[in-house]
């Protein structure tokens, strides 16, 4: 049923929500109750002055009764239907549901948003609690101090004849411990409060690098103009406020050197020209541009207008670069899902893998992944290769099908029958 045809349902719903009888509303707008009944059951079209009068009588904007007002709501309901695995036929009735039951539709849409937000929080906190050494140490300190206070306070309260020297000593201990407890709690709150400046919360050099790259939108125009001055990269990393540790500066300099090298192989302007000709398919582009696939994938990720994600891992499978994309989580501290095409590419040097995947979770959106690996060492006779894998992620066009299910990391993945599972999930719907 089209949304326009459901104006009557919305009128009926608003009337009932407002506690108005059909006859009363009909009288107020100057029509018969039977005619209003036909309108409310979508058997008569409505518009013009009558629509305005009804909207005024119901105390709502006319748009709230017509199709445009709930486009976002209907889109959210359709997403919820997709996530719940409803049939396409059932999902298409989101319009009807929103029209007939706007209050319930709002509840469902808001609940879905809340669930998504909570899932994001669970992911972040789970990661942090499990793998953040600073937080673990801080909580340990907090509990230890609390234990000292509890024991000492109990001694003071329960020992009837406590000698004065012991009493004074325990009072001093409690005073000291309570100050420590206060300081520890304050430090934890400050640490968890990532509000104003997320770079302060960076718990690893890799996070510092990620903040640095994000601050520049992964785009460095000054490195695209041929070979830069020898000191330019050092100057960039030393002056970046996001890069606090030496390790982060070292890693960021490596990323920037890679940008310079890739820019020398393929100019973004040439890439854009080729894309206008053959589209964004990496294989088609590599044939036109005669560019090595790893460089091409990195250059595609450097185009802001493409909105692509990029993940690079070394031979151990450790992620050494990430350009995040909405809907595909790359864990910061935990090991990634081994089902990603990135890791398949690591084991198949020279092969370009093209695979559509859906990362299970709050978005469950399909992505077209292109992955390959390369030896990053200069070839030498009989020298073992040092492989590095690159994976480009492009959002799949809507309605072109789902992909293979993958996760982000086992702890927060709901795929309970996954053969690649390493550990149970903390999500209730998981293991």
């Amino acid at each position: 049923m089209v949304r326009e045809a459901l104006t009557g349902s919305r009128i009926r719903e608003r009337r009932i929500m407002g506690g108005l009888k059909q006859a009363v509303l009909a009288q107020e707008v100057g029509i018969s109750a039977s005619y209003l009944n036909l309108i409310e059951h979508n058997k008569r079209r409505i518009g013009g002055k009558l629509l305005l009068n009804l909207a005024a009588a119901l105390g709502v904007e006319p748009q709230a009764l017509t199709e445009g007002a709930e486009a976002a709501l209907i889109a959210t309901l359709r997403d919820a239907a997709d996530e719940a695995g409803l049939s396409a036929e059932e999902a298409a009735r989101a319009d009807e549901f929103a029209g007939r039951f706007p209050g319930w539709a709002d509840v469902l849409a808001n609940t879905r948003k809340r669930v998504a937000a909570l899932q994001q929080t669970v992911e972040a906190l789970s990661e942090r609690l499990a793998h953040d050494p600073h937080l673990a140490a801080s909580l340990h300190e907090l509990l230890t101090t609390a234990a000292a206070i509890r024991s000492t306070a109990a001694i003071l309260a329960e020992t009837k004849s406590l000698q004065p020297e012991w009493r004074d000593r325990f009072h001093a201990n409690i005073n000291e411990d309570s100050r420590r407890l206060s300081d520890s709690a304050e430090a934890i709150v400050a640490y968890l409060d990532t509000g104003a400046d997320p770079t302060d919360a960076a718990s690893s050099p890799q996070e510092e690098v990620e903040y640095f790259l994000s601050a520049h939108d992964f785009s460095f125009a000054q490195l695209e103009k041929g070979l830069p001055d020898p000191g330019l990269i050092d100057s960039m990393v030393n002056s970046a406020p996001e890069l606090k540790s030496q390790a982060a500066k070292y890693s960021a300099a490596g990323v920037l050197r890679q940008v310079v090298e890739d820019a020398g192989l393929l100019k973004l302007s040439d890439l854009r020209t080729a894309m206008a000709e053959v589209g964004t398919d990496p294989l088609a582009l590599s044939r036109v541009l005669h560019c090595a696939m790893p460089s091409l994938l990195r250059r595609l990720a450097a185009l802001p207008e493409l909105g692509a994600g990029l993940v690079v891992c070394d031979r151990s499978g450790t992620v050494i670069f990430r350009k995040s994309i909405e809907g595909f989580t790359v864990p910061r501290h935990s090991a990634c899902c081994p089902l990603w095409p990135l890791f398949a590419a690591l084991g198949q040097p020279g092969v370009v893998i093209s695979e559509r995947v859906n990362q299970l979770g709050r978005a469950d959106s399909p992505f077209d992944c292109f992955a390959t690996s390369e030896n990053i060492l200069t070839p030498e006779y009989n020298a073992p290769p040092l492989m590095q894998a690159v994976m480009l992620l492009l959002p799949a066009q809507a309605g072109t099908g789902q992909g293979a299910p993958v996760g982000s990391t086992c702890r927060i993945c709901s795929h309970d029958t996954c053969r690649a599972r390493r550990e149970p999930s903390v999500l209730a719907v998981g293991v």
Partner: protein, 121 residues
Amino acid sequence: MGKHVVLVEDEVNIAEAIRFLLSNEGWRVEMLANGTNAVEVIRNAAPDLVMLDVMLPGRSGFEILSDLRADPDLADLPILMLTARGQARDREMAERAGVSRFMTKPFSNAEMLDAVRDLTS
């Protein structure tokens, strides 16, 4: 002479509170603030009970526990572990290593004293 306990705890104020409580119960309390020489001290002292923190300077409580259990003479020595690391995997690790009792901080004095009595009765 009362029973003898070696308390390995780097948190001075907790150690002091435990020493007070056990002394009142007639225990002789020997305190160590780090794990470096703990195994050697315990082996020489042959106490009736060891109370062991997990996160210690020098050596961790788990390492000390493993070393003590590896010594046939100390295989039956009651060892009470006191730790703020109360996760299931820490408890499992301690049980695998042969701990007699595992208590998580913060604990009540009564709980701690009950555990000591149970282990040494």
